[in-house]
Structure formats: C-alpha cells, structure tokens
C-alpha cells in the first residue's frame, strides 16, 4: 500500500515536471501572408470571410438550432464532444470575451481562466492564424446576435474527461506558432498554405491521428478516419492528391462540389458539408491560392497495407458472380455496364479513387446511404445516389463492391459483409 502511494506521488511529480517543462509558451511571432483578396475589406467583412472559410458554423450549430449556438455532437474514439455556444451570450457564449481571450483560444487552445480546450477544437491548426485575422474573426462574431442556449457536457470515456491531462497532451503534441511565410514560394502559394494549414484546418480530417488523437505531423502516411468516414490523403494521388490536376480544376471541385472532365471529382459526406457551407462562399482568389498550395504538396506513396481478406480464394468467383448480378439489377442503369459512368449523373467506377482506396469505408457508406452532391450555386440541381441499406443485404453489398473493385481494370481486394456492417456505425454526416 505504502509503495503504491509512493509510486503514485513520484508519478504525479513526474507528470507535473513534464507539464512545466513542455508548457507551451505563447509565441506571437510571424505575420500572415498578405491576403490577396480581402485587403480592401473592412475588418468585419474580412472576419466574416475567415469565419466562413473555417466553417465555424458547421461544428458550432446543431441541425435546426440557431447559428453558432453550439450543441452539435462530434463523435470521436474518446467519446462524444458537444460543440459550445460561441454566440455573444454572456452566460453561455463568448459575449464576455475580449479579443485577447479569443486570440488565446485560437492560438493557444485555452479559454479565459486558463481552462485548456480539447483539440477537437482544431487550435492545432488555428494557432497558425495571425493576430490581425483573429481580431477580424472576433469582430465579425461580435456582430452576431446573442443566443441564450446552454452548453452540453461532453460525454467522454475514462480518463479523457480529466481535463488536466490535456497539459501532458499539449506538451507532447502542440506548439503554438503563427504561420511563417516561406520566401522560396510565391505570395499566392503562401496564402494557400496559410489558409489550408490554419483557418481551413484541412488536416483536422485529412491526416491520420495517433492513438492519442494528435495529427501525425511528419511522414504522415494516411488520411484520417473521422466522423465514420475516411478523409483521403491530400498527398497521395491514388486518394485525394491533386498534384496532377490543373489549379482551375482543383478550385472548381472545391467551389462546385463536383468536377467533370479529365479529372472527375465528387464531394460527399463531411466534405460535401464543407463545400456547401464554406468553400462555395469563399473568395475566388483564396480558392485559387488553396489550389496552388494543394497542387504543390509532395507526392506520397499509395498505401498498400496488408489487408485482412477474409474470403477464401475458392469463394471469390461465386461472390464475383453474385456481385455482377446485383450490379446489373441495381447499378448499371446509371453507372454503365462497364463502370464507365455518365458524366455528372453518375461517376465512373472504373479507375475510381473512392472505389479502389485501401480504406473501403467511403465506398461502403456510399452504397449503404447514397446521398446527393451538395446543392451549390454552380451545381444547384445535383444528381444523387440511392441508399441501398433498405433493399440490399450486407452480403449483397459486399459482393457488388467486390465485383466493382475487381472488374474493368480495378484490382482491389474483396469487401466482406463485416466491412459493410462496420460502415453502418456512427451518425450520417
């Protein structure tokens, strides 16, 4: 007993020492690359554009609730977070905050009183935002009405509810620091890098995280499994890498939510929300800057992690034949007899990136739940994909996906019914 207490005390001392040692210091260095678009705008308008690019409203608004009043659930491996109210309500929102408080939240992940924030709030990205831009965002939020809606407590698994543990997490994984321009690159590239890494917080979904939920900052081999979807890697051309695309195509996909032509792209799941709520409203020059930066990302190698196949080789011909029948009955009408697709009506499945990705959850969820591309200004009447969970069994869905992944030049491993059932968890997004 005595030994245990001694050990505990020693451990606590070590933790405290580590926390002190690694305590992130406020580093207000660096200037944001000059905005190419918003320099002439007044502060509030500039703030509105940044808040839109960050899609703050997306997480901080529950369906049917008032904008920015919080309450949306964010499921994570550590439990469910509920976004807080960030309206001007003094009791529940941030009505009593000053610009310094807002800056500390974005830059340093801490709320007034020193309360440490969970990195579900992507301050690991927002720390790159310049002080002037933080002030502009704050000025814009100040113009919005106060909404007196109480915050919900997060429902976290043990021990993640212990907020003080964040001190250790921050020591390990967080260094505050404003974006610093890279003089090797153009102003447009720097603007794109600043937006992508900072306020647009793309890496919050598009990079894999370690077991403690931190984005792996170096040699990150993978996109991220988030919100029940897989956000494909932006560095790997076989996933969502766009290094071979024209900048105009990249910007169009981000603005329209869909792209036809030599490179075809579709946004769905959480990315459709990002396009609908945020990117389609972004300034054209900012989107172009983002495109320039995304195109320049170093090419990463496709993942070919050994994958549990779970299908006896002898059964593959039977599964393929069943899948072919399901395809003929339910898919060929729109996607074509040989997976060639029909322009924007239905994407090609042959050589499709989503179909062939190592992480199959997106393909599985598209068949299960279907969905429409976002109804953007450039594509206001999108075509959609029917949900098949009401009419097809897990076996049928697995067999048709196995058929699609193994036909017309596609050569990806089979999907088994367990994969389909794994894709049924989590909220639709």
């Amino acid at each position: 007993m005595k030994l245990r207490i001694t050990l505990l005390v020693v451990l606590l001392c070590l933790v405290a020492a580590a926390a002190l040692l690694f305590w992130p210091r406020d580093r207000q260095t660096g200037e944001a690359p000059p905005s190419l678009s918003t320099a002439q705008l007044d502060t509030v308008e500039r703030g509105r554009a940044l808040v839109t690019l960050g899609d703050c409203e997306g997480c901080h608004t529950v369906r049917g609730g008032q904008a920015f009043a919080g309450g949306r659930s964010i499921p994570t491996p550590f439990g469910t977070f509920f976004s807080p109210n960030i309206t001007q309500d003094a009791q529940y929102g941030i009505g009593s905050w000053r610009a310094d408080d807002f800056w500390r939240a974005l830059h340093n992940g801490s709320a007034p009183g020193g309360k440490l924030l969970y990195p579900t709030f992507p301050y690991t990205n927002f720390t790159k935002i310049s002080r002037a831009d933080s002030d502009a965002m704050f000025a814009y939020l100040k113009t919005l009405p106060a909404v007196p809606v109480a915050n919900r407590d997060h429902k976290l698994k043990f021990p993640y509810g212990q907020r003080w543990l964040l001190a250790i997490w921050r020591g390990l994984f967080f260094t505050p620091g404003v974006y610093e321009s890279d003089s090797q690159h153009t102003a447009e590239w720097n603007r794109g890098a600043y937006l992508v890494q900072g306020v647009a917080h793309c890496s919050a979904c598009h990079e894999s995280r370690n077991a403690l939920g931190a984005v792996r900052s170096k040699n990150n081999p993978s996109g991220g499994l988030v919100l029940s979807w897989y956000a494909p890697s932006l560095s790997i051309p076989e996933e969502a890498g766009v290094q071979a695309w024209s900048e105009a195509d990249i910007a169009t996909l981000l603005r329209a939510g869909i792209l036809n032509g030599n490179h075809r792209g579709y946004t769905f799941g959480p990315m459709a929300e990002v396009v609908y709520e945020s990117l389609q409203h972004a300034d054209e020059r900012d989107l172009n800057a983002i495109a320039v930066y995304l195109k320049s990302l170093p090419v990463g190698a496709a993942q070919n992690e050994p994958r549990r196949v779970g299908l006896a080789p002898a059964s593959i011909p039977i599964v393929m034949s069943n899948g072919q029948q399901v395809y003929k009955d339910h898919c060929a009408r729109c996607h074509g007899d040989a997976g060639e697709g029909q322009s924007t009506v239905a994407p090609a499945l042959k050589n499709s990136r989503i179909v062939n990705m190592n992480h199959s959850v997106d393909a599985v969820r598209m068949v299960l739940y279907g969905g429409y591309a976002p109804g953007t200004e450039l594509n206001p009447r999108p075509f959609g994909m029917p949900p098949f969970y009401p009419t097809l069994s897990s076996e049928q869905i697995a067999s048709v996906l196995t058929y699609i992944r193994g036909s017309w030049g596609n050569a990806s491993p089979p999907i088994i019914p367990d994969d389909v059932e794994a894709g049924m968890t989590g909220p639709l997004w």
Binding site: V62, R63, G64, G65, A248, T252, A256, I258, L259, N260, G261, A272, E273, Y276, C334, Q342, S343, T344, V345, Y369, G370, G371, Y372, P374, G375, L378, N379, P380, R381, P382, F383, G384, M385, P386, P387, F388, P390, T391, P427, L428, W429
Partner: protein, 231 residues
C-alpha cells in the same frame, strides 16, 4: 503574365459551365434526380413493401416541400431524410416535390378484416365529425371532405399505411416531429388518447381511395385550428 491569368480565368469559367452540364439531355430530368428516393418510397413514389415509408406520389407539392424543408432544417427527424436533404436549396427541393406531386398512381386495396367494428366506427366519427367533448376537430375539416387533402399544403390521409399514420401521431405527441408554429397537428395529437389514435388510423388506412380525385382546391373554411404550415 497577369493578363494571361485573367484570360485563363475567363476561359476556365466558360469551360466550367460547359463541363458541369455535359450529360445526355434525356438524363437532365427531375425523374433521374428523383431516383434516390425510390428504394424507400417505391417505384414512382408509392410506398415500399414494409409500409412504413409513406406514399408521396400525388400529395400536394407544397406539403411535400414543407416536409423536405422540415427534414433539412431539423423540424422532422429521420436520419436518412435529414441526410438526403441537408445540403439542398429550396428551389431544388421544390422541383423534387413538384415531380412527386405530379405522379398520379393507383392505390392498393387495404382490407379492414380483423379490425373490430367498434374501432372502425369510432375512427369514422373522429375522421368525419370530430369529438367536441375532447375538443378534437374532424380530420375532414382541414384534410378535405373526401380526406384527399387540400391545396396548397394539406396532405391527403387516404392511401397511407396505418403504421406510418400511427408513427406520425406518436412523433407529434412526443415532440419528435414538428411543423412551423403554430403546430396544429402536434396540438391535436397531444389531445388524442391512444385508443382514439388506434381507431382513426385503422379507419383511415382501410378506406378505398376514390378513383380520379385529388386534393380539393382550398382548405375548407373556417379552419378549426391555426396551422403555421398552411398559412
């Protein structure tokens, strides 16, 4: 250089309009766009085999639009419908509503066999006359003399399965389904006893739907209750 960029941008925008509309004209239809609705709502908008998903063919377009908007904005809760509608604009949802509203399809016969006479009799009274003692207006006072709905936004009550009707009244009672305030159906459902709900849905679901008729031209006057969704 700057000049070239400008030209490229203009060309890019022109190309964009072209590439986004590059599909065969015969697919550029509301019908093609409505395909994702069919696995649940049935071919051309008739209810599916398990009867829970409602028939949407032939319902007033404004009613269907109201429901799509309610799903999108969180006044009605059904994850699949919330997901399908959440990133679409009013004009597009109205186009889909118009499409299903214009579908005129025969109704299936539903037998009343096995439903007690007394239940059906009580159901008929509630539907056609209402019950002053419990302050319940007749269904027909808003949903039309023949219960086939009233333009622009009141839905018909015939040709819809009993399980669907039961589920909606229950959802209004528990606050899961909402309409624009004042939410008249929520107020009515909360006044109904479980026995009354059982009776009225049993009677409604087993009525033959008159051939060749649709919603009446306007809501009967005077309306017995105030409804935010039809004003």
């Amino acid at each position: 250089m700057l000049h070239m960029r400008k030209i490229a941008r203009v060309l890019g925008a022109a190309l964009l309009v072209h590439t986004l509309t590059l599909y065969a004209a015969d697919l550029d239809t509301a019908e093609q766009r409505a395909l994702p609705c069919l696995p649940c709502h049935g071919k051309e908008g008739r209810a599916g085999p398990d009867g829970y998903y409602p028939r949407i063919a032939g319902k007033p377009a404004k009613y269907l639009l109201n429901q799509l908007v309610n799903f999108r904005d969180g006044r009605r809760y059904f994850p699949m419908m919330n997901y399908l509608t959440e990133r679409q604009q009013d004009a597009y949802l109205a186009e889909l509503a118009e499409y299903f509203s214009s579908q005129k399809l025969p109704y299936d016969f539903v037998s009343a066999q096995g439903v007690p006479e007394a239940t059906l009799a009580r159901g008929r009274i509630l539907a056609k006359d209402g019950d002053k003692s419990t302050d319940l207006p007749a269904c027909s006072a808003c949903h039309g003399d023949n219960l086939l709905g009233a333009l622009p936004a009141v839905p018909g009550l015939l040709g819809v399965s009993r399980s669907y009707l039961d589920a909606q009244l229950a959802a209004w009672r528990t606050g899961l389904r909402h309409a624009k305030a004042p939410d008249c159906m929520a107020n009515i459902a909360k006044k109904m006893t479980p026995a009354d709900i059982e009776a009225v849905t049993a009677w409604l679901a087993t009525q033959a739907v008159p051939e060749g008729l649709g919603p009446q031209a306007s809501v009967p006057a005077p309306q017995p209750v105030e409804c935010g969704s039809i004003s």
